[in-house]
Amino acid sequence: MKLLPLCASLLMLPAISHAGSLDANDTVWVTTAAALVFFMQAGFALLESGLSRAKNSLNVVMKNYMDLCVGTLVFWALGFGLMFGTNPSAWYGQDGFALSQASTDTWAMLLFQIMFAATAATIASGAMAERTRYVGYLCGAMLITGVIYPLFGNWAWNSNGWLNQMGFVDFAGSTVVHSVGGWCALAGIMVVGPRLGRFDNRGRPRNIPGHNLSYVALGGFILWFGWFGFNGGSTLAATVDIARVNLNTQLAAAAGAAGSVLYRLLSRRPILLTETVNGSLAGLVAITAGCATMVPGYAILTGLVAGLLVGPGERLLLAMRLDDVVGAVPVHAFAGAWGTLAAGLFYQGDLFDSQRVLVQLLGIVVAFSWAFFTALIMYMGVALLAGLRAPALHEQRGLDVSEHAEAGYPEFSHGALYDADMAADMERRQ
């Protein structure tokens, strides 16, 4: 029972830190954790690039690189204020925009939250890979980091946010970061449509293998590593509680991978590397909400169920003719929703409290309704104004050549029609 006040104080930490309570150790930990979360971008880039065809591999990396950059600037200018500014209405922050003067605590908080915002934005890039225009995608990333993510973040994480006031538990962002990013990705793939030929005329999916599955595994390792900063850093203080937070993170990731393998074994299918990596990521996403408020046994159960959800989730999307290149929607949206529910179900000292579970469900539904429908309208607007779907000619040439006039593998292009020379030709033509 002694843990209850501790957990409650952890949930309030964003507001407390904003009020100015970090000592030097805390600041060192939070900024280091921010760097770990930054490093997750490299994991996303490798994972998404590896799962794309070679002719689009650079484009995916460029999207990851630049959504971090534009997301950083937009979140500093607008998102942070909306999310953590003074919030008398309980719906949106009213100050803290484009901060140039603040306490060191606020700088640490801003840096850490910038990384979270960029994570939410980058989830869509993998789902929409191989057929989305670069500029259109970046427009979407700006709106996610500037409006969609911070407003939901305000409701859930601002000390005066209406969901927070109801007792919504999402320690490090299963819903706030991952589900919101996943629902935006779902809207994105619905608006942009599947890659050319992804489904045959009967609607059956065709396999489009990624070009480098070792990258996928390496990306998975890096994301896993970065998650210790994502969850551990969300304590926003250099406390002893980090140990259990990160232990739960580790256990859930392992259980997620085991869950996806179990699903493949039970359904008598070969065990895929791609689905196994996604299983561990689903475990990580799911434990993010409750890693500070669960005992390790429940963390394992949370991760295991998340891993089990990945395969059926991917098949559900394919049955609906939705082309999610990396499986971002099952991993981030579905597992995030499950993890948020699990955080309510397995809350230490108050297991299966129906009131808490109802609040968690409300948070999940609100996150879906807000993020999905807003992103749907946003991507439709982007498609209309800036263009979202790459022309068929760009898909033929590959987005590396058509959008960047560069080839991902200039010295190893055997078998590729659009090689480095062709890319150089394109640049000369422009």
């Binding site: 068929a392 000619l393 033929q396 062709m422």
Partner: protein, 206 residues
């Protein structure tokens, strides 16, 4: 291009020239090439009917028909010259991209096999009618797709790129994107190997 086809075109030009100005004559020849060139030599009724309907020549229908039948029986030296025959040769030299496109497509048809290639050509014909395509491009492509052994009339680079991309999209839909990439690469390699002089034009086209 067969001698016989060229001769029959000259006869059509000879038969129609008293009734049509140069512009209408070109359109009429295009229509004949597209829809009637592969029909028996003297089955001209349908062609004349369509001409009269298109150009409002109903009153002269009988005369046009007679003129065409007579022209078909004239000796070679009495027929008008075939401006398109010389044009086709010079165009091949002046339009390597068109030639490259044609060779690339031939390689693709070959790799696909008769049945699949025929289906893709039919789909492409349908797209020509459905999608926004200029009359010139549509006529040239339709004529060529119906008679792939003939030469394709010269087209602009953008038009050829657009047609090639349509073929790629059709390949993606029929064979899947992975096979579409492989087929296009194989066709490019084979064309560049057999016609090295066309390689620069092909690269430009792609």
């Amino acid at each position: 291009m067969s001698q016989e086809l060229s001769r029959r075109r000259r006869a059509i030009i000879t038969g129609l020239s008293p009734f049509l100005n140069d512009t209408l004559l070109l359109e009429a020849i295009g229509l004949w090439q597209q829809s009637y060139a592969d029909r028996p030599r003297f089955s001209l009724q349908g062609f004349v009917s369509e001409l009269c309907r298109l150009f409002d020549l109903g009153e002269r229908r009988h005369h046009i028909h007679m003129s065409l039948v007579q022209a078909m029986s004239l000796p070679d030296n009495a027929l008008h010259a075939d401006p398109w025959a010389d044009q086709a040769d010079s165009d091949a030299r002046a339009h390597p991209c068109t030639q490259g496109f044609q060779q690339l497509m031939q390689q693709l048809w070959h790799a696909l096999g008769d049945q699949q290639a025929g289906q893709v050509r039919l789909d492409l014909l349908t797209l020509l009618r459905q999608k926004k395509t200029t009359a010139e491009v549509r006529r040239a492509m339709e004529s060529w797709l119906q008679h792939p052994q003939q030469a394709l009339a010269p087209l602009s680079m953008n038009a050829l790129r657009e047609q090639l991309n349509r073929v790629y999209v059709l390949l993606c839909e029929r064979a899947g994107p992975v096979d579409a990439d492989r087929l296009l690469k194989q066709a490019y390699d084979a064309t560049a190997q057999q016609h090295p002089s066309l390689a620069p034009a092909l690269r430009q086209l792609l």
